[in-house]
Symmetry: D2
Subunit: 461 residues, 4 copies
């Protein structure tokens, strides 16, 4: 047994990439993500990319050949996860054109911004499918450093960036062919035209999409994006989409934004309710809330701080100003009822010069949840403000997400799990601000060289 | 028994208003709207506002005190009906402001334009509720001349003229308060905000609307108006709306514009499918068509001539250009399958100076179905082009509508029915153009002074 | 000689309208508007609508039959004037339509708002010509109470409210015919089409306008309104316009908004430079300033407070944010150089519900100069902040305007002048805030019943 | 002396690039561009890039070492010129972004499209300055094949593509920084901000521009581009600009679009009136026309065919529809008065997919003058339709332009001139369609391999 002395930045850099045969983190308080009480003076033993043991020093043997990392006085928690990000976030026309041919660089940079800030796993729920899948594969194969990615590709039933679902104004200045080409990178055969089809026809499109695009999970639109109160697919079609996902072992989630679309998604059997807290002008009906609580349906909620909520309420035009207070009400009701919540931010990397009014308004808001690398800390702060217990907050960002997305080797620090973890300088259960005090990040058992990220800088240069 | 000689226009004018105790139309070919074969040399006896007998001269006794109108060489048919008009049609901002305080004059004028052209009954399916109801009542009580009106008021679930469902651009120049005040005249408590509500909440709103607004029938949105492919209400909500209508003996119809919204409307139990032929980019699925045919669900189809269809196909931008050929395909399929069609036009009176691009495009089209007073003739022409038999065409404009809307005293010329009829100079079954050759109109047993209509001229001056 | 006791509001109302044969205001400090030092314990004698004497008590005899008004401890100054108002101010589409048929009521109300706040004379420099002239005549003939009005009608070379010079967005929703009809009320044959014409052709149009429209003075555009940096008329055309005005004894002014248009206006011989301080992104060139100072050309400057200036600088988008600091610089330079400035506000009455972004931005600004009834007080405050002496400030609002507009019977309190005056409770030369402390207003020798104004309320109800 | 047999395409290709020491074109009818009568059976002798002799066979000696090209039965004319093109033409946002980094390729392609169609010299009057100058230099040094280019860079006083002078809608979707960067490539310090400056300040800016940018001639805006009726610079400023150009031996022209801006340009001393025929809603005044005719001021007129004129008249919205008939009237008047006209097209290369409404309208028009490679043929056709003599038409496209732009070695086929010429299969004076029947192009004495152009294809691929 030998001690590791992190003597210099040069040495740290050297350590960043090669896998350690065996390593032991010794002396920290372990919060293992299972919900069990914190374990003081714990040992976490890692072999390759896996945890082989984690528990009190008295019960965990440190292998003889293990490199020991002394983390006494610190806290060890599972790597954080975000149930909803957009690694290709800048979909305003000039960004689309500026990054033409460089989508993968943009995505890799965002995955690095996420990882640098403690998100060892992220779920991308809408983006240019091919580029996302390629970066995911390069990260997973170790060619590129970045947060572990799972990818939905398109939101089934919605169009691409230049469609009426997002920024149709682009088409006032872009040629139709260019706009269509770009949109197709998102739509991938399951775009807005699906709304004209019968349940069986949609089923066939979704089956092809699931079989051919290498996406990890499915997300469909249960309601409109630009006009949130509209429904998209009939119950029969929603059930068909869910069935096709389940046939293939995929989790299925829906974009919902109204009380009725939320209810329909639940009745269709979705595994995970995406931004369940967003129900527009009216809160979640009591009957729906009761079902969510009883069946413990994982709910990815866009929790916002009180500061952000009041800003939205006071600054956004009708009817949007009314949405944030409803979200606040929903969040408190779900926490009270015991609905399992997931940390979810809808976040991405903002460019330096976004000028679209929508972006401007978001950027102007304090505690903007949708800033990747920052939003998840705000979420954990908001969770506390809304009455969630500290331990439940931690589970929302770790185990709950792994369970909801059916990733059994993620989310906790137990034998056999992926060695994704954070070492913190202060107790996150005492104050959610302490999640920001990251001392060390391990992903797949390897130390992340945070200072080197992102590299190269693309949108953030 | 004495013969009536229609000697002069002066005399005709004299006859226009006072009700005749008893009158007999003698010698024409009678097409009574029941679907039975035409009866040559027929007699129709009218007492007050009712038909007391109609049939071959041999079988119908002419009362001794009857005034006899010699209509030998002519054709007598029931008064025509239109299952979908908008008597307040000019909803561009400057029309709204120009006619502020004069909505009822505008509506009365349109009801007179309809009557003058042979429509003795029209069903208004979206408009400013209070003004429509007032004009309806004044016409029914004989204070005002005009087509018999039945009124839906708002399309449940849609907003008023300045809402995102119609012309939100108005709000770029109008103050919010003015725009809201106007919209409220249409919405009447059952506007677009209903999309945020649960089935029970919608049910309660609809009940209040049905109980308090004096409307004759209900129309709800099964799909969006501006974005046709979106669904509006869940199946549960649609059923609730239909039930509330049926509890009160009202017919219920839905605005549909996609294959799925059409199917949902049928499953919800609607009595009448409004513009069933409009299914956007995809035709009516075979399974849905089979249900329509089997259950003989009345379908109000916006049949257009081949000339209009090809114009729309060739001139409207994507995706709208694709809608007309689909409608054509749907119409032929429904006619082939024996679905009972209703004449429906969506028509209204155009102003002299409408400049909104949408209106301009419509006005530019040949054979524009939506011109009130003209559209129903085009519909009958289109029906022939699409393969409908002449007799079925006539039934679509008469009896089918009365049956669908549950108005048993309308639609045919039989004993006990309302004495609404047209005398034509040529056989409408030989050529639908002959519907235009109107010699005489009786409504409620009274001759309509066509030359005097409309009076006063408001929008058409 | 008898004393007047203003015993009650009822009595005051009784006194409001009938002309007093002779009246003497006794005991106040008189600031007579000539620029002479204030006269303590002064007497102002009024006969009918004229001042017959004004000076120290020792030198002015009070006629025996005069009603004496004891104003000891107060200050008497000439009635205030505004060199640039818009009595019909609400040119957003819904206002145009709402007040259709009621333009004169709107204008009369604004003239009353002005008078109530101490403006006994205003110069309307752009508006619907016929209505303005009618109200002017009704006020002058005593049929209607209101500020004395002088009217320019159109700005020669600019279009009406719905033109590209003002709010062309209106034409997205208005029909062309309605928009044109409205614009014609402003344009009166001297609209934007004049920019296509030769100097001689413009001359002929202006001659007709001056001869037939009963306007009091001429205003032409030396530069664009929406795009301020563009020139409109060539020097030859500008000279032709000025000559035509001068031939008829009319003062001529130009709308200018750039250094070059200001120079051209001066070279064309304009009598009065309208908003001379507005030169866009660049200040008045030294050579132009020298000419203005040497020739003492009256300059109607839109002086704004420092609070308003910094707000504009910090809140308006490029390039408009840069205009206010330039105006500030110009104002200081003109005051320093001794250019005679005129109080000018561009003010009008805001409606209750204006929602156009431009109006919203203006309304949001502190110390908004363009609020009629308030703007002139702000101007006098701004003048002080910019370094103008108190007496010069008073002259800017009285004598300077009368001289510039060639109205020799206005502007000072001297024998033979119109008896337009204010009695103030505090010394306006000590602090411009004291202009707000109005105790009494006389116009045409009659007491104004301020509490009764405006009546009726139209836009402000 | 030996005969050249152009036996095969392969041989022609071989001949394309190497300069011939001496070559003689023998046997064609020579129209030498001086205005002299055509010379049958002529000889044109070329040495290097120059004409050394041109005239009747009897008078021109063919050098012994000359390669002889037998062109009997054909017509030889000077290379055609266009007084106004835009080699970087696609300024819609998606084009700007798509060709980011490739401006020079786009320009070179356009210069090749021009050359391929017989334009041996073009004058680019607005574009991205640096790229244009670079391509010009590469063509002149023989590195790149293309039409000889002369470059104005910016139109002094106008902004770049994303400015209010052109397509400000781009800024609704582009970030300000990107839009500004692009615009600066056009504006080069002499953009729209100059309208705020005094004559002396503008003079200084223009001097710097002329001294530092390597442009060949100056073009300034005498009137607005988006709003044509506005004037831009005062007469003093216009004179200053012209003087600065003349000091440096540059020709100076102005963009004009109204009667007054045309007059001002003439009075300022411009050498060449750019699109003098465009005077908006009113024709050129008689007095201005007289000056143009008397002083023989070269006028670059955008002549359009009757077919195009009537299309514009009947299809463009008010007021644009009125412009084409005025242009027609102006063209006929100038031809009648003997004003020397220059062929000018405003042409450029259209992309495959331009969807901006303005472009769509232009593309939809028959006989679109602004299609580079086609427009000059249409111009010559239009000239005939408008009453110009065949010889005057030819001079408009050759000598007149050389004279107006002060390029004494261009424009005619005389000893000492540049050997730029076309060999045609039919007589262009008999029918302007024959200009299209190009058999051979020589530029700088070298045969142009027309089939190889453009290469590479960029916008036209």
């Amino acid at each position: 047994m030998k001690r590791l002395l992190v003597a210099s930045a040069a040495f740290a850099a050297l350590m960043a990439h090669p896998a350690l045969a065996t390593e032991a983190l010794v002396g920290a308080t372990l919060i293992d993500g299972t919900g069990r009480a914190p374990v003081p003076d714990a040992v976490v033993v890692i072999d390759g990319d896996r945890v082989v043991a984690a528990g009190p020093r008295a019960k965990v043997r440190i292998p003889d050949d293990a490199t020991v990392r002394d983390v006494a006085g610190k806290w060890v928690i599972p790597g954080l996860m975000d149930a909803n990000v957009h690694l290709f976030f800048q979909i305003m026309p000039d960004s689309l054109m500026r990054y033409e041919g460089h989508y993968e660089d943009v995505i890799a940079e965002a995955a690095q911004v996420a990882l640098k800030n403690g998100l060892t796993t992220v779920f991308d729920t809408w983006g240019p499918r091919e580029a996302l899948v390629n970066v995911r594969d390069r990260i997973n194969s170790g060619q590129v450093v970045g947060s572990r990615m799972y990818v939905a590709g398109n939101i089934i039933g919605l169009g691409g960036p230049n469609s009426t679902d997002f920024f149709p104004a682009s088409r006032q200045v872009f040629s139709g062919r260019i706009a269509d080409e770009i949109d197709a990178r998102w739509e991938q055969g399951v775009g807005a035209d699906l709304l004209w089809l019968t349940p069986d026809e949609v089923r066939a499109k979704v089956a092809t999409y699931a079989d051919t695009t290498k996406v990890d999970f499915l997300k469909y639109a249960a309601s409109g994006h630009a006009q949130m109160q509209f429904l998209t697919f009939s119950p029969e079609t929603q059930k068909a989409i869910v069935e096709e996902g389940h046939k293939r072992g995929m989790t299925v989630q829906a974009h919902t934004s109204s009380p009725e679309s939320l209810r329909q998604e639940i009745e269709a059997g979705a595994d995970l309710l995406q931004h369940c807290d967003v129900t527009g002008m009216k809160p979640i009906p009591a009957s729906t809330l009761a079902v969510m609580a009883k069946r413990k349906i994982p709910c990815a909620a866009l929790l916002i701080t009180q500061k952000n909520m009041t800003w939205q309420r006071d600054n956004l035009p009708y009817p949007m100003g009314s949405f944030a207070p409803v979200r606040d009400q929903n969040a408190r009701a779900m926490i009270g009822a015991g609905v399992p919540l997931l940390l979810t931010t809808d976040a991405g990397v903002y460019g330096l010069e976004e000028t679209h009014p929508m972006y401007k308004a978001l950027v102007a808001a304090p505690d903007n949840l949708t800033v990747l690398g920052e939003g998840h800390f705000l979420w954990l702060q908001a969770a506390k403000e809304l009455g969630m217990s500290p331990m439940e907050g931690l589970l929302s960002a770790t185990k709950n997400i792994a369970v909801a997305y059916k990733r059994p080797d993620l989310g906790t620090l137990e034998a056999g799990k992926k060695a994704d973890l954070l070492v913190l300088d202060a107790d996150p259960l005492a104050d959610p601000k302490n999640y920001r005090r990251i001392s060390l990040i391990l992903k797949d058992g390897k130390v992340v060289d945070r200072d080197a990220l992102p590299n190269p800088k693309v949108t953030s240069k």
